[in-house]
Assembly symmetry: C2
Homo-oligomer: 457 residues x 2
């Protein structure tokens, strides 16, 4: 087998230093925010037993699971008739583990397994890759990071309000100012279905409305009719989805149209309470929290039962960069009932693209090595080691070019690595103890003692 031209598996990526430093910049801001709000880190293995993974993501999801072959002679226990029937029959016999598809199911599995040790309400965040055997395309990868925070074991709406505050904080730190946090409540969608006498078709309503952005209201109504909604109900639904005004006006309008639905009214009240809590948190500053009530927000996944969120950055044509919601039954499938929680996640690949599109990556802070010392010759190198030690003892990321290569080669290295300062130490500098510091951005240079150089940083 020739390895002369190695390749990456389709849909998978290397992250070289330049990209890693920027990704870490995003991760660190998200992590710091999660922790400031009392969320703690959790990591689960890449592999889960297929018995945990399958049947949770629907038939479509099951197809996208990466399955790991059993080790050893996995066929010895397999019957010929299973093999004869092809992949579908054979797979369950030769594979018992799969790569995780999201962070929610492993989290639920962890909570169920550790229910007796966990201090509830359990606030955890989890930043790890997941894998999906999806058809790769622009912006869709087979391995990508998810960035989740969830709190389970409480129904308090303070948690919903804090999710808004966390999104505000992350975006403020990233420098993203023009964005919208859409909020809705699944109970409102249920209320709408009840009010229009289609109470048994809430899921169809959610699935159809979820496509509104893509296909428009006419096609959504057509789909609803195809899914068995009466013409009358669709006509009655239109004004409910289309309430106008600011958040309070929209919610008031819905409320008065929904008095007959207990759940619908509850949904409106929950959102109003979340708004109140946010207001109290920010009593002293007139922060715009970017929250917009949107009765047409549905979010595809069906396990949400309360408030739902979705975040879009304006003027950048990238889908939602964050989303989440409340669910009433995270762990029932694992034998632990009544575990209500609320969670949300950031899409780091999309956030990266947004920050790049808006040119918001800070130029100064994303530096790796701060100073490179040029290696002129053996004498210069030996002298430089003491200087290097002083720089590093002062916490300055620095390196000595390891070989006394041509100056041009060394400067190219510094440039490629985006090192902002280069220190030149020749015979003259050694004699005077005044070192030449070159600013690579400006091209300027000055001659300074090492102490003065250190105090510059």
């Amino acid at each position: 087998m020739s390895k002369q031209k190695p390749t990456l598996p389709k849909g998978m990526r290397d992250f070289g230093p330049e990209v890693m430093i920027r990704r870490n910049y995003i991760f660190n801001i998200i992590k710091a925010t999660f922790e400031k709000f009392g969320y703690l880190p959790l990591e689960t293995p890449a592999m889960e037993n297929l018995s945990v993974l399958t049947g949770t993501y629907g038939e479509e999801g099951d197809k996208l699971l990466y399955k790991v072959l059993n080790s050893g002679d996995f066929l010895s226990k397999t019957k010929q008739e299973d093999i004869d029937q092809g992949a579908r029959k054979l797979a369950p016999k030769i594979t018992e583990k799969g790569l995780k598809y999201d962070l929610t199911v492993p989290f639920a599995r962890y909570v169920a397994m550790n229910r007796h040790d966990i201090a509830f309400p359990f606030k955890r965040y989890q930043i790890q890759p997941v894998w999906r055997a999806d058809r790769p395309q622009r912006g869709r990868y087979r391995e990508f990071y998810q960035c989740d925070a969830d709190v389970v074991g409480t129904k308090s709406l303070i948690c919903e309000a804090e999710i808004v505050l966390m999104i505000n904080e992350v975006f403020e730190k990233l420098g993203i100012t023009d964005y919208e946090i859409k909020i809705n409540n699944r109970k409102i969608l249920t209320g709408i279905a009840e009010v229009i006498n289609e109470a048994d078709k809430v899921n169809d309503l959610c699935i159809a409305i979820d496509k509104l952005d893509k296909i428009g209201i006419d096609k959504v109504e057509e789909e609803l009719k195809n899914r068995g909604f009466s013409d009358k109900s669709v006509t009655e639904m239109r004004p409910l989805l289309n309430v106008k005004g600011n958040n309070t006006e929209k919610l008031d309008a819905l409320k008065s149209n929904m008095e007959s639905s207990v759940l619908g009214t509850m949904g409106v009240n929950e959102i109003l309470e979340v708004f109140d809590i946010i207001k109290i948190f920010n009593a002293n500053n007139n922060n715009d929290n970017h929250v917009v009530f949107d009765a047409t927000l549905a979010r595809g996944l069906s396990y949400y039962t309360g408030c739902i969120f979705e975040v879009k950055v304006n003027n950048v044509s990238i889908g939602s960069v964050s989303g989440g919601g409340r669910y009433d039954d995270l762990t029932g499938v694992f034998g632990l009932a009544d575990m209500s929680g609320v969670g949300f996640s950031f899409g780091v690949d999309r956030l990266y693209d947004v920050i790049e599109a808006l040119d918001l990556f800070p130029k100064e802070n994303l530096i790796s090595t701060q100073v490179m010392i040029v290696n002129f010759d053996k004498e210069s190198a030996l002298y430089s080691m003491g200087i290097l030690k002083k720089l590093r003892d002062a916490g300055i990321k620095s390196e000595l070019y390891p070989d006394s290569a041509k100056l041009k080669k060394q400067m190219t290295y510094a440039n490629k690595k985006a090192i902002p300062f280069v220190l030149l130490i020749g015979a003259n500098e050694i004699a005077t103890e005044k070192l030449t510091l070159k600013n690579m951005h400006e091209g300027s240079q000055e001659t300074l003692k090492i102490e003065a150089i250190i105090s510059k940083f």
Copy 2:
């Protein structure tokens, strides 16, 4: 399929918050040190093409690779005769990707693929999990993190010296003081083989000597004889492996016994030069660098060609916690010749155990949430939100218990989460604006304005 009792795959682990915080403490120290020395982060995907992975780790390693099943109807292109011949014949037809077994091969693959964009010498670090279908046992897992730093594209011995300095720095920051960095050079082992006229059996020598710690010198000599070493050569070898004195004395003794071997002499000189460079780096402080020359250090893997390292913590019965060495041909198998480099890695699971055994995890710094506010009732909660905002704006990790549960339940939560301070805000506190701050360690409490509380942190 019942999911009532979910389990983890054998040999895999969840890392809950308490362990994660400690692991991150170790990772952060290692990362900061790598970066201070100019190493940049790299991440490669969990999966690699099997064509990249197989044949690199020897037959034993190939067996331990986790293989990922092709998606779709992977059997449709498979011939019945392959299926009939069992797992060994079938596997290559139904799987094309595997989980990475270490970080070195993906790194080599990355360097070969990106040779035209990389600024050489390329200093990268990589901290990611790897997977091995090994028999799980105490301290051996099927998924574990590796923590590698390598520099390729230079033969400068400054890199070897800096590896010693990085190990010193990491251990100093972790508070580990009693440890040994064993150093040897593969060229010295070649020299020994040459001097005793067994030049063609260097690999056998390395493999046998590698077992010295476990089986003792008598058994090693027995194994050498079984591997075809003459009685005379084994007798001549003994004093060479057994040189006495301090580092310089040992190296001098070896050197004078090895004048006939060009490579052996070169190996001794390389180590002497590394020692010189370390000395110059530390000219101003009489640091003990913990480096001990050991002619019997071999390191099993055969690709090393120069200096080799291994680090052991004294008085803790855990194997080596770090190791590495120089190799002359990292990427030849991928069509990129003459890529010399040197690298090392930390074993984070073992380091964790060492730090725990020596009780060196800092009690104070590993705090997650710093303050929890008790939730007495609605009025208290509403008032607390403004307080919480102030704490968080001051960068203090803090949370309000989301429900007005029984005080005991809330205090248990704070205890379990190891939150050091709890803030009690009842009607009296709201009226006086003086809040009760309870120190959970000492059990003491005091009454302070919020500004005074913030300035305490």
